[in-house]
């Protein structure tokens, strides 16, 4: 019993002694969670963020390593390239909704993985080594703060209200004169842009990238951040990314039983809070434990 309490205490106190590398990983994961949250603001469930992350990472690395471009510009180009890919993928894909959209974006991420597995200029299966470790806390949290400010401002803006309307009811939104296709494409490409920048940051933090850094598991992780944290409010994905990234190291003391405990936590949260830990009703204590109806796409 004492041992259990000790480890629980060490989980809580451990938050204050996180190293720089851990903080960077957490920040990058928060960025990835928000990149999935962006399409979600118009009710689009995109499972392909790992693919956009991969594209961004590879573009940024090629620019800094082979072309000698400075890091901020490389990040920007990575984001734009990945956003362009998001736009091109989005045009045919966004007429699907819900489960089918999740599947097709997921398949896209797989195709990206197979592509980089076979793409000789970026080392094919060997990946790229010796990437300059440019990423530091300023870059990660600077971008994150900008992103959060943007998303917080978005909510009350004209575009944000349009997104909200599309999320609640596409047909009604269209009837009110909102360009639904444009709203969806904007949100989807913006999500891809953010994922691309996140990929660039990740690559220059990990120093070594390979096609399978951005595989099925990465996609699932990103989805978990958003879904567990809460996909209705901006702070949900942030909390999810923090808690999950932190717990996956802090639960080390469970050693062999980490995945079993982890799986049960996920299932329990989904049973009691299908909209995620944080939701619109978080401050409403009386309704907290009741699963409120959530609206998506």
């Amino acid at each position: 019993m004492q041992a259990v309490i000790d480890s629980l205490v060490s989980i809580v106190t451990g938050v204050f002694t996180l190293g720089e590398a851990d903080l960077m990983t957490i920040g990058i994961n928060m960025i990835m969670a928000l990149s999935m949250f962006l399409p979600m603001t118009v009710g689009q469930l995109s499972f392909g963020q790992a693919g956009f992350m991969s594209i961004g990472a590879h573009i940024a690395v090629v620019l800094t390593l082979y072309a000698g471009v400075s890091f901020p510009i490389a990040l920007l180009v990575a984001g734009l390239g990945s956003g362009l890919a998001g736009f091109l993928v989005g045009v045919p894909v966004l007429r699907l909704r819900g489960l089918l959209l999740a599947l097709v974006t997921f398949a896209f991420a797989q195709v990206v993985e197979v592509f980089f597995l076979n793409f000789k200029p970026t080392g094919a299966a060997e990946g790229i080594r010796g990437i300059f470790p440019y990423t530091n806390l300023w870059y990660v949290y600077g971008f994150l703060v900008l992103l959060v400010l943007f998303l917080a401002r978005l909510r009350g803006s004209r575009m944000g209200r349009a997104f909200e309307a599309v999320k609640l009811d596409e047909t009604a939104a269209e009837a009110m004169g909102i360009d639904v296709t444009r709203a969806k494409l904007t949100a989807f490409s913006a999500g891809a842009f953010v994922a691309g920048v996140g990929g660039g940051l990740y690559a220059h933090h990990a120093v070594f990238i390979q096609y399978d850094n951005f595989d099925f598991k990465r996609g699932v992780d990103i989805a978990m951040y958003m879904v567990l944290g809460g996909m209705d409010v901006l702070y949900g994905p942030l909390l999810g990314a923090f808690v999950i990234t932190y717990l996956s190291t802090a639960l080390q003391f469970l050693a062999n039983w980490r995945w079993e405990v982890w799986g049960s936590i996920v299932i329990l949260v989904m049973i009691f809070r299908p909209q995620g830990i944080l939701g619109r009703d978080t401050l409403n204590i009386r309704r907290w434990l009741r699963a409120s109806p959530v609206t998506t796409g």
């Binding site: 398949a107 299932i267 998506t296």
Partner: protein, 306 residues
């Protein structure tokens, strides 16, 4: 002549692979049809099935000798069926039916990871295969057709998958429970009003679908290898095939599985092997975009998002 023999060998490989894929995909179709939910741990259930079969064979080898393959298959099916029912009770039932489509996706992914870990702990993470001694023992039943040889195991894989598929088809089309399943797939509320016990049907659907997945696990394990990670890719292939053939369409899934099995073996033999999985996902994307009802039409309306 040698080229022809290679080609025939590839056709047989394609049939074996297609048969295994078909069994996984039919399970997917059953669950998706009745519940309108994606079961992302379905491949892992198949993986558990193949380990059950392997363990049984290994134990029997040390005690009594080589077991008949059909017995191994049946035991693996029962094992996987039980696992599938547990998955339903743990990860689907408590969610209720009026949830977001993403919640069951997440819970079944969690189950998939737990099953993978359990397999690593129980059976080790290294690649395993059925014992060579068993294959040697079964060699005496091999068929020799001129210069060409079909092994007993190959025949067993093909025949078993065909028998299971035909059996399932008649079960769904001709029996009372099969009719109840189809009623649930059509409209759960109406089925309930007409006196179908939907909960019971759900449990049975999971059991049967998982048993088929377990059979697929054993058959693919006989032809290739068994690893704790085989479930992920198997599940994805099953999903692709389900959509390819038209979700809810059992015959469609069979044909699509054969096509995909053939494409895959042929692309390994005659095209670039590294792109093998790329083909499957490329097909998946094209189908979803341009023919979401699949090649042979979908029996169900795919719920396009809630």
């Amino acid at each position: 002549m040698a080229a022809l023999a290679t080609f025939i060998q590839q056709v047989i490989n394609g049939l074996m692979l297609g048969g295994g894929y078909a069994l996984v995909a039919i399970g997917y179709t059953l669950i998706f049809g009745v519940l309108n939910l994606l079961h992302l741990a379905h491949g892992e259930v198949a993986m558990i099935g193949s380990y059950v079969g392997l363990t049984l064979v290994l134990i029997a080898m040390s005690q009594v000798g080589v077991l008949p393959l059909w017995l191994v298959l049946i035991v693996a099916m029962i094992g996987a069926g039980v696992v599938g029912i547990v998955v339903e009770l743990v990860a689907f039932r408590p969610l209720g039916r009026q949830q977001l489509h993403i919640t069951p996706l997440i819970t079944t992914i969690a189950v998939a990871f737990v099953l993978q870990e359990a397999a690593v702990k129980l059976f080790g993470s290294e690649q395993r295969s059925f014992p060579v001694a068993m294959f040697d023992e079964l060699k005496k039943y091999d068929l020799q057709l001129g210069a060409f040889r079909i092994t007993y195991v190959q025949m067993f894989i093909i025949v078993a998958s065909v028998v299971l598929m035909v059996g399932l088809y008649f079960f769904v089309e001709k029996t009372t429970m099969g009719r109840a399943m189809r009623a649930c797939a059509e409209n759960t509320q109406t089925a309930r009003l007409l006196g179908v016990n939907v909960h019971w049907i759900t449990v049975w659907t999971f059991g049967i679908a998982s048993a088929l997945a377990g059979a697929a696990g054993v058959l693919i394990g006989l032809a290739y290898n068994i690893t704790p990670l085989m479930g992920g890719i198997l599940g994805l292939k099953g999903l692709t095939i389900m959509l390819f053939g038209g979700s809810g369409n059992i015959v469609g899934a069979m044909v699509a599985a054969l096509i995909l099995g053939m494409i895959e073996t042929m692309s390994v033999a005659y095209l670039v092997p590294a792109w093998k999985d790329g083909f499957a996902f490329g097909i998946l994307i094209l189908i979803l975009l341009y023919k979401p009802t699949g090649l042979f039409g979908s029996r169900l309306q795919i719920e396009a998002g809630r």
